[in-house]
Symmetry: C2
Subunit: 408 residues, 2 copies
Amino acid sequence: MAQAQSSGTNLLQVAGFNENVILDAIRRSPEGMSRVELTRLSGLSPQTVSNICRRLIEQELITEGGVSVGRKGKPRRVIRLRNDSRFAVGISIDPAVTTIVLTDLSAQVAGQTVLPMADLDEPTAAVDAIAGAVSTVIEGAGVDRGRLLGVGVASPGPIVVATGEVIDPPHLQKWHDVHLRDELAERLGVPVLLDKDVTAAAVGELWAGETGSRNFLFFLYGTGIGVGHVVQGIVVRGYSGNAGDIGMVPYITPTGESGRLHEVTVPVNVLRRARSRGIVGPDLVTDTPSAINDSFLRLCRRADEGDAGAAALLTDAARAIGGACVVMADMVDADTVVLGGPIWEHVADRMLPVVAEAVATQSVVGVPRTVLGTQLGENVAAIGAACVVLESAWSPHPSKLPLARTSA
Amino acid sequence: MAQAQSSGTNLLQVAGFNENVILDAIRRSPEGMSRVELTRLSGLSPQTVSNICRRLIEQELITEGGVSVGRKGKPRRVIRLRNDSRFAVGISIDPAVTTIVLTDLSAQVAGQTVLPMADLDEPTAAVDAIAGAVSTVIEGAGVDRGRLLGVGVASPGPIVVATGEVIDPPHLQKWHDVHLRDELAERLGVPVLLDKDVTAAAVGELWAGETGSRNFLFFLYGTGIGVGHVVQGIVVRGYSGNAGDIGMVPYITPTGESGRLHEVTVPVNVLRRARSRGIVGPDLVTDTPSAINDSFLRLCRRADEGDAGAAALLTDAARAIGGACVVMADMVDADTVVLGGPIWEHVADRMLPVVAEAVATQSVVGVPRTVLGTQLGENVAAIGAACVVLESAWSPHPSKLPLARTSA
């Protein structure tokens, strides 16, 4: 079903390796850099840095100006990235909440929309609806299409990286072997990159988040659950691009009950438990992702209003998530666990302390680990999908590298 | 307790980046390469390749000779690695079976010894005994110490990478904050690299194994258990160098029993279960790692001789290992699960089919995954520790790379 992939994608490319080294240095310095600083930092010659800067100014990727006084009292002309010179679109396909964002080069959201759920049900109609919504967002933001680097899609798995297909997402009954990447590329006329939702969320957190970690787990809580992970600064996509499937991870409660993670965390299963305990009536509607989403949010509100039964179910979910995060963080030795996603935003206040306590008290390695919610909000997977485009276009991947001819 | 580390170590360095690109190309071609082929493969100029080859011949790292006839009928002089030009020592510290190997550049074992267990009990005596055994192995193989690149140590965790300490290994009661790396380096007078045992095993499998995978898990079964993993060709060490701790991963049996992985797999715990079920007598000795090892191997022999109770305990262990491998392989999307280690060699025939069946039938992602025993034998962690030295000395890490000055 799936084929091996190399790490990262190189479909898009803003510039060559040295240009990207310079761009990356400028990007990471919001207060700007001078040519002298860029020369020192890059190890390139002043002439090479000048040539690169001239080309980048011509391409409107950077600006130079705003003389400020350097540390030694000398005036310096400050080079900054023109964040609004290029844009990326990110699409997060969650069966209940599909979101489209347009971001600039700093991953700031310049426009967004949410797709009506019914539009997603049937895949051909879904592709049409998504393509239409992308165009609407781009036009609404007044962005020239020539400045669009590409479109990233964060999809539930399993996916096939080589063909850009989405196979059989559990919560989209009518989706089978959908050639999402190529069909969107054809309709939109720009490069499209497909990644799993959890992978995109991890890319987003690495690229635009405030975590600052290079070894973290990203627990994505939406209509389904999954975990993205970054080790040693590298986003783990795995052999087939399907890393992050954790629904079958077993959990054991402090009182000795056990089960699989999805049974007590995925919204539709939490609602089934609520029904079997009589917390919600037998007439509860769970026949569409949208209905499940609405019913789950009502359950959350009841818990917030003091319903002990509803609260207990959410605590069970949080404990199971915490237990899974402990063993996963110990396994990959992550220093940070980040949580986010459309469902997470509604349960964060209740669940974060439970997960944090589990990680703090149950980890066996003895290394301190940070647990926190993403600062990117409920659109983290969509922003992450845009960051997949930025990452591909932008990063000075060693794979883009010519051999260093001068050192021999 | 631990500090962040960068990926890989650069303590040792055979040569610069371009030299290592050439060396690596030669290493990967056992049938040898010509200068013309190296020029084509590397993208370097013929003059640069000639200069590099001259230097590598002077350093006795390669030989050139043995004229053969190329594809177009032209004679070509074949360049080959001199595998016996440099050596590495690998030490695997398992409380029951500590092994020292000497390997050449191809990770072939040129000498080895096993340390008596009693020598390991007290850390200062252990360092003395290990250093003495290393010297014995080197001298026994008739290798010039000037040709030794360094010593790698595969240790049970937790370790502190920054200081080279082993903290509190569960099965070595008297070891606390042992500065193993520096004390060995002082006694031996060569660079010493410290890694966790599971990390070393993964490096060994990647470097010298026959798996051929770049996305695999390595389940190490010795006095303790753990898992090394490689994603996208990169060995995962994690934030603090302690990746691979999986003892607390929960398992659920097909009949609904649940527990933590270490409870049914670690030899001392299997023996406790055997005692509680009356399969072994209450006088069973489990007071030292050596006694545990011997008792466990007796239990394995009884299972092989038809003892149903002993066999059931080993099947329980195999099922739990299989279940854990399923969820871990799904999480990181590994295409291969490799098993090995000093205990594994005694249970491989019994356990491999159970683990393979679990991975084949329980994985949810739908990607085929291979399950196999390592071809490196019970010394895999020691060979892996030597490979940590080779990897550090040898690989053309991008971190060794100057910027490409000619491309601007």
